[in-house]
Subunit: 274 residues, 2 copies
């Protein structure tokens, strides 16, 4: 496949964030046709623009994955739209540092305790939902002490979170869903339609852990089942989308993985512009 | 007014481009709700992302206005959406170089023949509509020779185009409409609604020269009159928008000036995030 030689890794990451949020209709998430009252399209696109220095630093100078995730969160935390891309940064920063999935796996294999400490500082800046079972509470300063005492690396933290968080799980399984997402994009052709179709395929095959943390696993599984019915032609996509938005059921983790998948696919020659 | 200390000039320019294209409903132009068949929302947002190095160079190192406009055009010329922001770059590059309108006026006062030559090279890369009366045809290599022979600076070129082009006119009248646009944004409050209201106010007070070049001055003046009726509550905004899109009547020059006005207003503390 032909590469896109003119785009830097940082630009590919920004393009992926932009293309994901513009694609529609995407059930439950902010997209071109839907805002939430507190988070709007402009917030997602502002973060896309403002995250750039962290991406550029990762591309230009390398650097540590934990502090780069923290930098990206700090750069995009200034608006009222809340955390828009924390999960996406967890995937994009190692992908930019490593270039592609293979390189990202090397980055993930090399994290240390300081990466974990920086990541916790970033996490503390967001309002990301934490499952109640987490004893390493990001709002508890004792957690950082505990991480240091136990000598946990950022990869250990991700392994710890993986059972309940599909974004963290990507760090432990060689970016398995990110790879599947990129493959689906290639299979579905180019442009916006391919993004929507890929998003639906992922939603129909995996319960979204962001939904599970917010509404419980039953709602996450019901959402997955509805996506299956949409793909079978048994349920109307736009009605399903409206129901999700109405209920605040937003598959945020699958959106994060979609961004990572678009980044990878763009690097493999997938065309957004068609 | 409080400044936005965290945003660089380059970021303000990118935010202005993003906020302008997302605002809706804007009669006739690509916005969140409307694409044209050949130019879509994603093309505008891709240019917003990809123009960054030219903006950053203008902010960081200064440089010549003509070559920076050319660089911005080259960076954003790679997609199939055609020229999305040529007029915006003509305004944003001096504004970034100078910081604000006062500084931009100093930049404009200092252009030379090489700026004019570089600008013509940029112009040749676009498909921007040229009025038939122009004898300095950008597709005619003899034009550059003529510019050099006559010793025309880029400011001379803008003065030459000013009677038929409201973007060029900004260079000759101290960014008069850009200033008015920023003042309107401040007057209309914050966020997306203020952008839409400001756009309508401009459309109701000036015939758009992009429409005039494409469809004739009568259509430009009728569009202006329709905007007056929308503001008076005598015409439905969304119906007017649909009619413009249907007829390919897009006020592209007023969109360019709106971007410049948002850039200026952001620097004066106008809040996009509300």
């Amino acid at each position: 496949m032909e590469k896109s030689p003119l785009m830097s890794r940082a630009e590919r990451a920004q393009m992926a964030m932009m293309l994901e949020v513009c694609a529609y209709p995407k059930p439950g998430n902010v997209d071109r046709c839907h805002d939430y009252s507190d988070t709007r399209l402009e917030h997602f696109l502002a973060s896309t623009i403002l995250a750039r220095p962290a991406f550029a630093a990762a591309e230009r100078t390398g650097g540590r994955v934990g502090s780069l995730i923290k930098e990206a969160v700090m750069l995009t935390n200034g608006h009222s739209g809340g955390n828009t891309h924390f999960g996406a940064f967890i995937l994009l920063i190692p992908l930019i540092l490593g270039g592609d999935i293979e390189g990202a796996c090397r980055v993930v294999a090399g994290t240390d305790v300081q990466d974990a400490v920086d990541f916790y500082a970033a996490f503390g800046l967001t309002e990301v939902r934490v499952a109640e079972s987490d004893d390493l509470d990001v709002n508890d300063p004792a957690s950082i002490a505990a991480i240091q005492e136990r000598g946990m690396t950022l990869t250990d933290i991700m392994a710890y979170s993986a059972p309940r968080d599909m974004v963290a799980r990507e760090w432990t399984n060689e970016f398995c869903l990110t790879r599947r997402c990129a493959d689906l994009l290639h299979a579905h052709g180019h442009g916006r339609e391919a993004v929507v179709r890929t998003f639906l395929d992922l939603l129909a095959s995996e319960p979204d852990t962001f939904i599970a943390k917010k509404h419980g696993i039953d709602v996450a599984e019901r959402t997955m089942q509805c996506a299956v019915e949409v793909l079978r032609g048994e349920r109307d996509l736009c009605v399903f989308d409206a129901e999700c938005v109405e209920g605040g059921i937003n598959p945020g983790s699958i959106a994060d993985i979609t961004i990572a998948g678009i980044y990878v696919a763009l690097g493999e020659g997938w065309q957004w512009d068609s």
